[in-house]
Subunit: 352 residues, 4 copies
């Protein structure tokens, strides 16, 4: 008899946590086994999940969904198999080692364990950087992008779920970079734009409606945290790519406009074939026909990463556009996709 999988979610109050709760509650493989929702250990009280997220109510109210104070004992008592961390990266750094010791499989949505090179991690200023524990945990961490690392994910103990921007840029570039077609000396430029949910739920000057609405602003120029993921996953040097994030006046969605030059002239057919071949077994990537570009509206509320491109008449200069929902393929959806791979379920299960 197939054993059911017990999931737990730490950090359900944020936007990604909310989406994760929704996805896990409706996941066909998890029917009858609702996730254990966990709040801070210091909070002694159990809260109804629907107090935090009224949209999860049903006709009977809260459906008995609770957020309980975290403890390792509680996880053990409930027989938790997989722990999702939808927590700030500081918390993920603190919790991962102990979770692994308890034999849990961990899917961490934060930036805590995504980067294998210390120079790329520097921007996070982790307090435990270089400690023996951190080195050991990092060694176990697998970058949770199924399209690139499906096999390692299957048996991974710790999944570092990718950054939202990073997912949009890496998926758009990897097939072409892997072919060696791009002239890296001329540099890649990714002009990326994200909706406000990417900035998190904590109220701040920049997430104020009056700041974001009717506005557009660039930020993190030459220094955004997701840059390290691009370098490691694309295996390129920092001077070979410029990544510029912008804050869009929309709730969710990312669009990256990516500029590359090819070493030799290519045809649209060659480029399209390259993408199709690379993603032929990847159900969560959608390729648009040459010359037709994806838009944010098509990918939000889905777990797809949409990719399209436009080749200049010289066959050398190419603009790639990729779109995704930063809370789904860029966070909670990709986390569930990783869960599916880890347990051998259909990769898109619960995501359509």
């Amino acid at each position: 008899m197939k054993k059911t999988v017990q999931t737990a979610v730490m950090g359900v109050t944020g936007y990604a946590g909310m989406e994760l709760a929704r996805l896990l509650l409706h996941h066909p493989q998890l029917k009858g086994v609702p996730p254990l929702f966990l709040g801070r250990a210091e909070t002694a009280d159990t809260t109804a999940l629907t107090e935090i997220h009224p949209q999860l109510m049903d006709n009977n109210g809260s459906r008995g969904l609770k957020v309980e104070p975290f403890s390792w004992q509680l996880l053990k008592d409930r027989g938790v198999d997989v722990l999702f961390l939808a927590t700030p990266h500081e918390h993920s750094r603190e919790m991962a080692a102990e979770a692994l010791e308890h034999g849990l499989r961990v899917i961490d949505l934060s930036g805590a364990w995504r980067l294998h090179h210390a120079r790329n991690r520097a921007v996070y200023k982790f307090e435990d950087e270089g400690s023996a524990t951190a080195v050991s945990v990092q060694a176990k961490s697998v970058y949770g992008m199924p399209e690139l690392h499906r096999n390692e994910i299957k048996d991974a103990e710790l999944i570092a779920n990718p950054g939202c921007y990073a997912t949009s840029v890496i998926l758009a570039l990897k097939p072409l970079v892997a072919q060696g077609w791009i002239d890296l000396d001329r540099g890649i430029i990714s002009d990326s734009k994200s909706g406000v949910s990417g900035a998190g739920k904590a109220p701040s000057a920049k997430t104020h409606f009056m700041y974001a609405a009717d506005n557009l602003s660039a930020y993190g120029v030459f220094g955004h945290r997701h840059t390290g993921e691009l370098l490691e996953q694309l295996e390129i040097h920092s001077e070979q790519i410029i990544f510029t994030p912008h804050l869009l006046p929309i709730p969710r969605g990312i669009l990256s406009t990516i500029y590359v030059s090819f070493r030799e002239a290519k045809t649209s057919v060659e480029i399209e074939s390259c993408y199709r071949e690379f993603y032929k077994d990847s159900p969560m990537v959608r390729l648009f026909p040459a010359g037709q570009l994806p838009q944010i509206q098509y990918s939000v509320h889905t777990n797809y990463c949409d990719i399209g491109f436009h080749l200049a008449s010289d066959g050398r200069r190419c603009i790639i556009v990729s779109c995704l929902d930063n809370l789904l393929k860029g966070a909670a959806g990709q986390a569930v996709q990783n869960l599916n791979v880890m347990y051998g379920w259909s990769e898109s299960e619960g995501l359509e």
Copy 2:
């Protein structure tokens, strides 16, 4: 062996049509039996559905989804059981009689067959008003609000799917009106606000981004088409209610702020009980605790109608707020809910 149900959708290009396609394609009871999508008979060509709605693509592209030119023969050949009309009301008036003759069950999302009284229909100026055929079709029509007419829907040949505004107002008022608690002489006021998708997909001055964005406007004052539905379903007179629609600068969602006076003072507990009792078997209505009001953000992308209220300290004056997604509970979702009732499936199947 359970026979599967074959659905067909006429008019898939609009917003409600798109939502209907999405819901039917993922409906658990319709697995392996995709709807037949139909376009105008005059259009000889078959189109990929994903050309119209790229968001319905998957990794393999169009998934073979086509929009085919309408003909009665085609419906017969494909063994269609239920025909959804997501067409303008003129088309629904023209098509319904023949569809019924062909033995099809019809779920019409337009305003063509919702109103039983000629004086309420006058605003539509139907060309066939009063004709024998129209009278006969109208007599078969059941107002498709399962919360009020569940039993008649089960065996109905023709479902008139309710208007989006009407759904939000009727569900909020029916339990209280049915009790006879409201002082109708003092009048009910429903100040309702809707997102732009309610205005349809045809580009116009009022659906231009520059008109709707950063704006709010009242329209259809003392004369909106949905008023007749309120009168018939609540069984009240036209001078007993004022219904004022407003155009909100958001894509989807309706919020109605409804003002009533009670004949005698009531308590919040009495009111809450009244609602709970009335909707105890209605999975698609969510009641908020007294004093907590629903918001548009909680109901969009769901098929719920959310209802909350706030009672003045005099126990007489009461403000009821109801919210729903005009494309789901206000259109395509309610249509699928009707389908579920018609075939004896769980009322919320495919809607969560």
Copy 3:
């Protein structure tokens, strides 16, 4: 020789403060006499105003505009005549008495001094409520709505600039209430909607882009602070009006949809005449022709209050719609309008 007027603005960081700065800097009567901008006394440093509001820069950068730490001595040294308080009401309560003692004329944009009746002030929970100083200051306070109190404003020492919602409701109702036409026993309902700037600049859960965008919510039901202003200025009782504010997903603008019943049937011509007569000398009120309703888009970025109405065929039930920009006619613009009246300038000077 005409003496120029020296203004000072305390609290320039907020949205109303920013608009006030912009208006005063371009006011024809204040040419060459820029306002003195004041920040908290505790902040020892002088800041460039354009660091706070980059939109006030010109080609030469900051134009020498500074925010200086507040002190009474500084006001004296600079010969300040009029002090604008764009501060939270607690600060206005603290500062007004001393300002008056120093012989300054004060225009207070907060709710500190708007209400003459203690029962209406209760909602503010002022710490100094009932103190001799507070009583004395309140006695000097004039409600700064020129359309109603032009003559008292001329010589006022202390102007209590009206609330944004209150302005939209009072201006829409006063002419009809003054005529005694409205059946107050049937109750007035003002269903009002405001953009997010009305909630102030402090980041909070409710001003987060993700909360406000694509949403609509009612709040302050049966208890909003501006209600007292309606009661006092319209001279009605609390059970004669319901005022329900809603948060709109737009930066600025208020629309109030107001429902009244007349004691006796009226014609549209009578109503229009009533408004025209009442506002014939009020340049900042615009009346729309009968049946044509104002919209938020027409009044934002202006200092107008726009008023229109629609009369039911029974001549009794009437819907009035009023619109204004909550930061201009609802705050900074009305403050400058009061300044104009105080100094005998054209009432609309610097406001077109």
Copy 4:
């Protein structure tokens, strides 16, 4: 005695026409001389301007502002000196020659006369391309960007007011290109984003609220009409720049993120000095301090073009961000700025 200037505006119904009307009505040099507003000759009727744009009403209603049917005789009778064409480019092509024959000075806001090279004009497919008249008119046309062509504008008969995108890109690049600092072989990339008003007032699928809201899309890739202006004004070749426009879900505003490489490493100080020197006499350009980038919110509702930049640590790669209001500095505001230069008034008069 100073003669007053009589202006006329053809095409006042659109967004730029509306802003132009507003600016001219409040222009200090045109006091008492309102513009003559002109509609299509075929429309025999005179309309109140405030019927089209209610926001131009005052307390007395329409203020006598009319839109009159166009005729050359009418222009002569009213002594028109300057004719603004806020018309589609086809109309401007038809009208310009005759206007110049009548001795009028013309400021054309369309794309009709901006491009001096036939290969750049090809994208417009002008019907009269290459005709003797068109060649002669084009020869008289001055590109109306005062920051680059102030002296020629002074005496120009025909001003071709620049495109909105083009203004944002040219002003950001010209100082650096003029110095010869940019490595043109590596290519310039301008990733530009515009609000929806740039798409015009005609309702279309792309200006529908449901298409633009909560969305972002690239368009006109490798082929936007404004590209020719960049080539001519920057004096570069088409393979040296990629310009990619995007449609932003906001009413107004353009932000261009521009990527350049310098031939030799530069310092931020050198770059800032280069800009300051170039724009020292240009009141409508605002330079942001190095490392601080402009945002759309600071420039909308102003006539400024805001420019900022961020230099990589290698001193070679530089990101320039420029912002403006597409209806003001990108259209009507720049047109008035040109008027100011033509008549020797202060360049920013009526624009602050």
